[in-house]
Subunit: 190 residues, 4 copies
C-alpha cells in the first residue's frame, strides 16, 4: 500500500478542486490510498506555521504533492509558511527519496505559474525528494494539459465559482497527474 | 536620439512578427529609432556564433531587446549561440547600463515560455543591463497581455501561417512593450 | 531628491546587515535619501500581512529594494506575506515604473539564493517596475560579488554572529548595489 | 541491468571531469552500467545538432544525466543544440518515465549555475522524465555539496588545469549523485 498526500493552500476553493482531482486520480490506482490536507491560516502565528499533526501525516506518506494558488508571482504566503516549517525535516533528511509533484492555479493562462511550480520543485530538491511532472503534450482531444505545463499541473481560475473554474480539462490534467504519482509511488516503494 | 535594437532568432517567422511589432512601437516614440536584427544559422560554425557586424550594431544601441521562440523549454540554440558570443562584451562590461527586454513565442498558452524570458533576464543581468517588462495586467478589452506575462512579452503560435499567429493581441502586446522601451531608453540616456 | 527604500525581513540579523550597507551606499549619492524598513512577524495575522504605514512609505519611494534570507529555497514566508499584501498596489498599477532591486542571504555559497532573487524580480515585474542588478564580475581585489551573482546581491551567513557574517566583501557588494540604485533612481526621476 | 548515460558538453575539460565522476559512481552500483557521451561542435550544422547514434544511445538508456558548463547564465549553446534535436523524441514521448539528473560547472561559487540546472529540469519535464537531485546538505566533513546545490551537482572551475578544478569535493559530489542515479534507475526498472 502506498500513501499519496496532497498538501495545499486554497484561498477561494479553486485550488482545492485540483487537489481533489489529484487525490481521485491517485486513489484509482490499485494499492494506493490518497488524502487531501489543507494549510490553514489559523495555524500560522506571526508568519510561522505550527501544526505537528499535518507534518506527521506527511512523514507517513510515500508521495507528497504540493499545491497553492499563484499569488503575486509565487506560492501563497500561507504555503510558504508551511514550507519554512519543514526545515526540521530538511535538517534530518526526513523526506529523502519520497516522491514529489505540484500544481497551481491563477487567473491568466500563463501568469507566472511556472515560477510557483519551480518553487515546489526547489523545495522538493532541498528535501532530497524525487520529482515527477505532467508528461502529456497539450495536443489531445480531451484538453489535458491545455495550458502547456510539464513541470506540474496548471489550472486557470479567476473570480468564477468553483464549479466552473478550473474547468473540466484542468481537473482531468490534475487527475492524470494523480494517477501517475500513484503508479510511481508504488514502484518506488517496491 | 535613442536607438532600440531588437535582436532575435525566428525559425518559422512567428517570432519575427513580434520583433516587427516591437520595433514599430519603439519607433513611434519621438526621438527613438529602432531596428530589427536577425540571428542566422549561417553565422554559427560548430555551435559558435560569429558575426562582428551584428555585435557592433548592439554596441551602438541604447536598448537591446532579446527574442526567440521557446524550443524544448528554453531559447533556441541559435539564440544561445549568439548569447555565448557576447562573452567578450561581458568581460569588458561593454553593455553595462543599457536597457534590456525580451519576448518569446511557443505553441501553447504557458509552455515554459517564462523560462525563456527568465533566461533573457539572466543574460541581461550578466551584462549589467537594466530590465523592463510588460506592466499591463491581462484584464483589458484589447487583449494586451492576454497570456499573463510581466517579465516580457509572450506570443502564441504553432503551425499556423504567420499572418494568423501570433494574433493581433499578441502583436499589440509587443508593440506596447516597444513603446515602453523607447520611452525608457530616452529617459536613461538623458 | 530621490528616495530609496529597502524593505526586508531578517530572521537573525544577517540580512539586516546587507540592508544597512545598501542604504549606506544609496545615501552616498548626492540627491538621494534612503531608509531601511523591516517586515515584522507581529504584522502577520493568519498568514496575511497588515501594515498600511509600511506600504505608504513604499508608495512614496522612487526605488524599492527587496531583501530576505533564503529559507527552504525561496524568500521567507514573512516576506511572501508582505508581497501578497501588495496585491492592491498591483491592481492599481501603483508602483509602475519605480526602480527595483533585491538581495538575499543563506548559509552556503550557492544555496538556491538565485531562486529568491528571481522571485523578487518576478514580483517587481508584476508591479511593472524596472529592475537593476549587480553589474560587477566576481574578479576583483575587494571581493565585490565574490559569490558570482548578477541578478541581485548575495550574502553568506550561517550561525555566525552578525558582526562576522555576512563578511566585508558581501557588505561592500550590497553597498555598491545601493550606490547604483541611488544613481539610477535619480536618472529615472529626472 | 540498468544503463545510466551521461550526455554532456565540455569546453575545456572541467565538465568532463564531473561526467567521469558521475559515471564512476553509477557503475559502482551492482547491476548498473554507465557511459559518458560527449556533444561535439562538429555535429552542429548552422546551429542544429545532428548525430543519430548519440540519440539512439540515449533511447537505450534507463537514466540520462545532462551536463554542461554554465556560459552566459545558461547551458552552453552546444548543449542547447543537442536539446533542440531531441524534439522528435519529445513528440513521440520516447523518453517518458526515464530517470533524469544534471550537473554544471562555472567559475564562481554561485554564478547562475542554478539557472542551468533549472533548464535541465525543464527539458526533462518536457520529456516526461523523473528528476532526482543531490540530497546532501552542505554540512559534512568531506565537502560533498560544498556549494549548496540540491537541484543537481555543481562544480567550480575557471582557468585552472583540469587536474586541479573542479576539486575533490566537487568530484565526490558528482560521484555520489551517480550512485544515487544508479540505485534509482534499478528501482524504477524493477
Amino acid at each position: 500500500m502506498s500513501l499519496v498526500t496532497i498538501i495545499h493552500f486554497s484561498g477561494s476553493g479553486h485550488t482545492t478542486k485540483l487537489a481533489d482531482s489529484l487525490a481521485h486520480g491517485a486513489a484509482s490506482v490499485a494499492g494506493v490510498r490518497s488524502q487531501v490536507l489543507s494549510i490553514s491560516g489559523d495555524d500560522i502565528e506571526k508568519g510561522r506555521y505550527k501544526n505537528d499533526a499535518i507534518l506527521a501525516h506527511l512523514d507517513a506518506s510515500d508521495a507528497i504533492v504540493f499545491g497553492s494558488p499563484t499569488y503575486m508571482g509565487g506560492p501563497a504566503a500561507q504555503f510558504k509558511a508551511f514550507a519554512d516549517a519543514t526545515a526540521g525535516r530538511w535538517f534530518a533528511s526526513g523526506w529523502r527519496d519520497k516522491l514529489a509533484a505540484g500544481f497551481t492555479v491563477s487567473g491568466s493562462p500563463s501568469g507566472d505559474k511556472l515560477n510557483t511550480l519551480h518553487y515546489f520543485f526547489t523545495l522538493a530538491m532541498q528535501h532530497g525528494m524525487i520529482w515527477a511532472g505532467v508528461p502529456e503534450t497539450p495536443y489531445n482531444a480531451e484538453g489535458v494539459n491545455r495550458l502547456g505545463s510539464n513541470s506540474g499541473a496548471m489550472g486557470q481560475a479567476g473570480q468564477e465559482p468553483t464549479d466552473v473554474a478550473p474547468n473540466a480539462a484542468d481537473k482531468l490534467t490534475a487527475e492524470r497527474l494523480g494517477e501517475r504519482i500513484g503508479r510511481l509511488a508504488l514502484k518506488l516503494k517496491a
